[in-house]
């Protein structure tokens, strides 16, 4: 699984941090950061969930 995050789109709602805290965090200014662009498969569900919930559609998940 490969994840990309478009920080220009991010609106700082924090949904990804809430949904998949192992993979996403927020900078002090609220913009999301990707902690792990290739997370282990056991996190696949929560990462896909984070992508689906992101209000700015800033997260892309590609299966590999």
């Amino acid at each position: 699984m490969r994840i990309t995050l478009d920080q220009d789109r991010c609106c700082g709602a924090g949904t990804c941090v809430m949904t998949a805290p192992e993979v996403f965090d927020q900078r002090d200014d609220g913009i999301a950061i990707l902690l792990d662009p290739n997370p282990p498969t056991q996190l696949a569900t929560s990462v896909r969930d984070a992508a689906a919930r992101c209000p700015a559609a800033a997260i892309r998940v590609e299966a590999r």
Binding site: R9, C11, G12, A13, G14, V17, M18, Q26, D28, D29, G30, I31, D49, A52, R53, P55, A56, A57
Partner: protein, 411 residues
């Protein structure tokens, strides 16, 4: 209204936005039929003219995420106000609710830092302290008390006052203004007057903080504007942002606290589940947000160009109402039995906070306040109950934000 909306031939017997609830905890029954039969339907507006109503989850999300649907409306709440106020052509700087990208992000970004997951996490002990003090006061007073006046409003007002740097002693002023701003029957003059009073209240505060900064968000925004000549944070922008944060920051969550409390009291099995496992608080709050969706009339956008939605052709300038309450009860949300309240379910990807780049900025703070207040309240008063029958309670059918005007409780 002088919009293009009225220049189009439309049937004169169009229905309005469904408003008549059957059960006070459910949206008007008309939404279920619309989702099935006419997911994008034409509706009339109470002050004249017409627009479109989107009732399915998928469509509501698509509209709110699509830049072709603009937040720059020329009237305020035209879908529910009998006499909607005309808005200035050019939105004020910092008027987040009325700006489109990229301008919207320029004003949202400086404020975002105060509402991150981590910042809210650090606020939790202080929120707990505020809640405990209010519960102490309730206990000393003895029941019955009005939960709205004694718990819900004080908690959310104290938190946002401390965060922004507003004096809590001024609460009567801003509570009164919130009431006048959110009442759908307010005349354009009354709404305009309330907006002006709120702006001058915050402007005076901004001026005072420029002289004597505090450890608060308003002071931080002023300093950021001063430090960077390219910053959009002028005193006017800080005033507009501060006005929005103060009203949105206390009113919505206070209504969720009161309505969420009543909902659980009226659903004894759900309340028993929460009491037996307080770790369910996160899920319970998410489910209450979804089930109750207090932005009861949804969000309005204006089509920025001619476009087609589910076969309906929408003309540039026409208004589209994205019904959040309907979307959150749509089977398309992907949860079983969406009309059922189930605080144990996996949290739904609901749209109670909206969707798209405007999604609620303060949602993490709202969640923390709700989780802490509800668990602490039910732990403190094991025999909490409404002091009047539910059918005699004053529900806020007349306000942009749903909830209860009062909730007398005893224990």
């Amino acid at each position: 209204m002088t919009d293009t909306a009225v220049n189009r031939a439309v049937p004169s017997d169009l229905p309005g936005l469904p408003r008549q609830r059957g059960c006070p905890f459910d949206p008007a029954p008309g939404y279920a039929r619309l989702r099935e039969q006419a997911p994008i339907s034409r509706i009339s507006f109470p002050g004249g003219g017409s627009g479109w109503l989107a009732t399915r989850y998928e469509d509501v999300r698509a509209i709110l995420a699509d830049p072709r649907f603009s937040s720059r409306l020329s009237t305020a709440a035209p879908h529910v106000r009998p006499a909607p106020t005309a808005l200035p052509e050019q939105p004020l700087p910092g008027a987040l609710l009325r700006l489109d990208e990229p301008e919207h992000a320029r004003y949202r970004r400086p404020v975002m830092r105060a509402f991150t997951v981590k910042r809210v996490q650090r606020l939790r002990p202080r929120i707990q302290q505020i809640v405990d003090e209010r519960l102490d006061a309730m206990e000393r007073a003895g029941g019955p008390v009005d939960l709205v006046a004694e718990l819900a409003l004080p908690v959310t007002s104290l938190v946002i006052c401390e965060l922004l740097g507003v004096d809590y002693d001024d609460r009567d002023t801003f509570h009164g203004l919130a009431g006048r701003l959110l009442a759908i029957e307010s005349s354009p003059e009354q709404a305009q007057q309330a907006r002006a009073e709120l702006a001058s209240f915050i402007a005076a505060l901004v001026a005072a903080k420029r002289e004597q900064p505090g450890d608060d968000l308003l002071s931080a925004l002023i300093a950021e504007g001063d430090a960077d000549p390219d910053s959009p944070l002028t005193d006017i922008a800080v005033t507009v942002l501060g006005s929005l944060l103060l009203i949105a920051g206390h009113e919505t969550t206070a209504n969720m606290i009161a309505l969420g409390t009543l909902t659980l009291l009226e659903s004894p099995d759900q309340l028993a589940a929460l009491r037996s496992d307080p770790a369910l608080a996160d899920r319970a709050v998410e489910e209450l947000l979804r089930h109750l969706t207090i932005i009861q009339f949804g969000l309005v956008r204006a089509a920025a160009e001619d476009l087609t939605l589910r076969g309906q052709s929408i003309k540039a300038g026409e208004y589209v109402v994205a019904s959040l309450p309907s979307a959150n009860r749509d089977p398309g949300l992907g949860i079983a039995d969406p009309d059922r309240l189930d605080i144990t379910r996996d949290p739904a990807a609901h749209v109670a906070f909206g969707y798209g780049p405007h999604q609620c900025l303060g949602q993490q703070l709202a969640r923390a306040e709700l989780q802490i207040t509800l668990t602490s309240l039910f732990a403190r008063f094991p025999h909490l109950r409404p002091a009047v029958p539910a059918d005699q309670l004053p529900f806020r059918d007349d306000m942009i934000v749903y909830g209860l005007h009062q909730l007398p409780v005893t224990w």
